[in-house]
Amino acid sequence: MARKVPEINSSSQADIAFLLLCFFLMTTSMDVDYGITRRLPPPVEQNDEDVKVKERNVMNVKVNKSDKLLVNGRPSDITLLKDEAKRFMTPRPNDETAPEVETKHFDLVGDVLMSKGVISLQNDRGTSYAMYISVQNELARAFNELKEEMAWQKFHKHLDQLSEEQTKAINEAVPVRVSEAEPVEIGASN
């Protein structure tokens, strides 16, 4: 006659499961990372010739080691940078001092007047990272506002409501033209 196996008491199963739960709660993290995504340029060849860019097409932004800003040789402030960058990148065909403009055709958005301007960013080795991020953020904000305006003008929609193709078209029509200069010491004066 087969012996009767006593039933295993399962009342401790809950405790075991709680232990496992505590383990997972402690060893994992749920935090989501956010950040400013950038693409680094490929390394420059030593014998590469300098690309000549017309002076009116460049907006020079320099940050020194005491986190002070210099925009086109004039002292500026971080709170003004976004509007200055936006004004610079807005195509103004009749202004001699503004960057040159060209008309290009893109799918979906059609003919677009584009500024040939480039924002050149140069920072000192002593600049604080917080300031660098602030500058990057303000420049990105200027471009995002231009994109937003273009999206509204062409599609009557906000930037985050556009379809994937429309976003791509806008990104092509308003390229983020921020170039970072090769690192040099700028010094503390100014």
Binding site: A17, Y129, I133
Partner: protein, 155 residues
Amino acid sequence: MGKFRKEGKKEVPQVSTSSLPDIVYMLIFFFMITTSMRDVELKVKTAMPKATEIQKLERKALVSSIYIGPPRDAKLGTESRIQLDDAFARTSDIPDWILKERESRSEADRPFLTTALKVHKETRMGIVTDVKQELRKVGAFRINYTTLKGSALEN
């Protein structure tokens, strides 16, 4: 109406706990799926600056992080140091580390590898520039300056 009155004890029956393990297991599975393992023990402080124009870092498996900041251990001074994986490193260690990170991903994923720079806000740009130069040399062009959400003007 005494006819319908139930006779005998009126105790509340005991709540059955036999489904409790199932409920807890469900919670476990929820946490297992939504969270990711904490990968490194931080040896440097990374109080990151704030920014507004930020994107979410998609696909965490394709992100390798470089931590830069002053050491947590006060004995090591306040000068910013680089941390790769679990140890301090020098800028010259970065190319090898990037190659190793690439090696550990499948061939199809390698072009989408992103390097997240988690840098303390008081760090000087010199060390960050050096790191960026090393990344350029080794062809890791996709980078992300990890920041917190908030107005950049408060930094």
